[in-house]
Symmetry: C2
Subunit: 253 residues, 2 copies
């Protein structure tokens, strides 16, 4: 039996009672921290569960799950803890598919996620269009897809949520500032006047606890220090007056 259990949006306190109930009977507990930036403290989590927790990295989980989590799930109750809501990451869909092929039963325990928490900004959740991710660019890889998604959403007056890349193995977590700079670089190339220094954006850090939300022009947010990860960036579409009023409280400068 394999449980995929969400840890929720911020730290170990975002776990649910349902998860704790199930974890009492679980014989082997794994966690991964590479699909989602998290402030979970492993020692605190182990204390909370009263169990040893084994950390899996991308290599373990994506290349050799049959040597850890799938092997154990065949013989005993096994859990994989995942920051946020577990099924949001494609990796965990893949684990479920592999488990099913081996005849392992699976169950998902949901938790809070940026996808709904983002409404804390005051932006209405049903007015978000397709979500997109901004990867760290390098010499050979500089995708413009986030810009393209923004264009399509704006056409339909929808908000765009940009999820920001993380490379925990290098201790790199993309900031709102990095994200803005990347989008401005794409604007320089494409020149479609979609993401300019003058447009209004919302920068968000650590939603769920000690959150910082700032609403302002790109040129004013680009140098603002949002502090520790995780961060997300939002480019709003057409604003409803209630959204404007909610965002006012976060105006910068």
């Amino acid at each position: 039996m394999l449980y995929l259990i969400g840890l929720g949006i911020y730290d170990e306190l975002d776990i649910t009672l349902r998860a704790l109930e199930i974890l009492k009977d679980v014989e082997r507990v794994y966690v991964e921290f590479y699909t989602n930036a998290s402030n979970v403290n492993l020692k605190n989590l182990e204390k909370l569960l009263g169990k040893k927790i084994y950390v899996l990295d991308r290599h373990d989980l994506e290349e050799h799950p049959e040597e850890n989590i799938l092997r154990d799930s065949m013989k005993k109750k096994t859990a994989l803890l995942v920051p946020g809501d577990p099924m949001v990451a494609t990796t965990h869909m893949d684990i479920i598919l592999r488990a099913r092929k081996l005849g392992i039963k699976t169950k998902v325990i949901h938790a809070s996620s940026i996808y709904s928490a983002v409404a804390e900004t005051g932006l209405q959740i049903y007015k978000f269009g397709k979500t997109t991710s901004i990867p760290f660019p390098d010499k050979s890889y500089f995708p413009t897809s986030p810009y393209d998604v923004l264009r399509e959403n704006l056409k339909n007056d929808l908000h765009t949520l940009f999820l920001l890349d993380i490379k925990p193995e290098e201790n790199r977590f993309m900031s709102v500032n990095d994200a803005i700079e990347i989008l401005l670089r794409i604007e320089e190339t494409k020149k479609e006047n979609i993401f300019t220094k003058e447009i209004l954006c919302v920068g968000v850090a650590r939603l769920g606890n000690n959150s910082v939300i700032r609403f302002g022009r790109v040129m004013d947010l680009v140098n603002y220090n949002f502090g520790k990860p995780p961060h997300v960036l939002i480019a709003p579409g057409k604003l409803h007056f209630m959204e404007e009023e909610m965002l006012k409280a976060f105006t910068h400068p």
Copy 2:
């Protein structure tokens, strides 16, 4: 001080440790059950918190919050418990705006929500377009907006999540079957071949616990008994092969 606290997607077990921590010190606890269908049992929740919980209806919360929740928040630590993630409903944005005007501090505690949990179907969350709601139609009100949103999402190969209306005061909760019939009626009027009996859909009930997910043609799902609420309906856009493989497990008939 006013806390808006999410109860999560299914029942009282979906509350987080963060919420329980905060609720220890809260002097007055309210709950509402009209923005979101929920299987929370009030007695169990009171036992869990060791506190009396006062239920607010739409009238209390939207017309006279100054007679209950806002009045209390000015004097003491007060919480409003909300099924799902609290800021998803516009009502709660309005409460926060009113609180701010009165100088009341507010804090949001997030919980699991249909907006990310829907990924349990196997559909990738970043491929969802704008979400839409299907209201109960009546003689004078039969909006076609859900159909229009579906059309726009399909143009962009995106999935559409339909949230279904509830009228708890009349014990009416829209089922997947109702939703399908409403969309078929709109199709009959508009005749754009967007929501036909032949298209593939996903019907979902009680995500989070005892969930039922069924993937099939509209004509095959329309008579399927999904059981108790809450229900949602999804009309997928273009499917990725991994999504198809995930959905296979839920195929009906």
